[in-house]
């Protein structure tokens, strides 16, 4: 017989807990970029990187976001089609191209950035300041595990 205190169930499994929290907390925000701009998560992320750091190549977005290059390639394609960004060939190295947000892209970025900021604050509000601080630190640690 397994003793009660040794009981280990799914609800205590960190990867599962993390996943549940991640899914639940993404939902409301996902709604926003989907409904307002018809974006997928990958697209919102690419937009966010460009809005935050300015002109980048797909490669640079990849190293910063750890997204796979095919995801980025497809997100860029869709963002270009919908006129959220433009591509500028790099004359010095014609393998890569620079990505820039259009005016419309910037507007979407600013809007979503503000929503994200408020949403993050609302999430944090359900936690005590100590919980919030430690949660963020612990998540960073776990994310950097590889």
């Amino acid at each position: 017989m397994m003793s009660q205190k040794d009981a280990f169930d799914l609800q205590n499994f960190l990867p599962y807990l993390l996943n549940q929290a991640a899914e639940e907390s993404s939902l409301a925000f996902q709604q926003v970029y989907r409904d307002r701009y018809g974006m997928l998560r990958t697209e919102w992320r690419v937009l966010f990187h460009l809005g935050l750091y300015g002109r980048l190549t797909a490669k640079e977005i990849g190293t910063r976001s750890k997204m796979h290059k095919t995801k980025i390639s497809r997100a860029v394609q869709r963002l270009e089609e919908r006129r959220f960004l433009t591509r500028a060939p790099d004359e010095a190295d014609r393998r890569q191209e620079y990505l820039d947000l259009t005016v419309q892209g910037h507007a979407a970025y600013r809007d979503l950035h503000a929503v994200a900021h408020r949403y993050d604050a609302a999430l944090a509000d359900t936690l005590t300041p100590e919980e919030e601080r430690i949660l963020r630190a612990a998540l960073r640690k776990l994310a950097r595990m590889a």
Copy 2:
């Protein structure tokens, strides 16, 4: 101009942080159930629920795990094909059927349960006891937000 202290980037966005931590922490364990038993995450979850709680209907697994019913239906199908579980019709209500692990299913469950337990401990070991306690509490809060 945005002030530095107001800087809000993706790395500070809780849903993003949660997602990164969840993905990273799932990876190594995913390897195990994929390589040893050819299972998908949905299948491992169904297996885990049955191993932990015993006989359940698909519906019950759904309410406990919050997985969509089509995911469960397909996971059950594959687990049945591979002889990890059997279905027993409910004579009282013929819409539903009871799911039971086979001997082989139990063996896989026990094996994976042990691995998960050890893996969870290893993850927790990268955190201080206080961090661990607060992390788990905070994750549970966030997961219950809806």
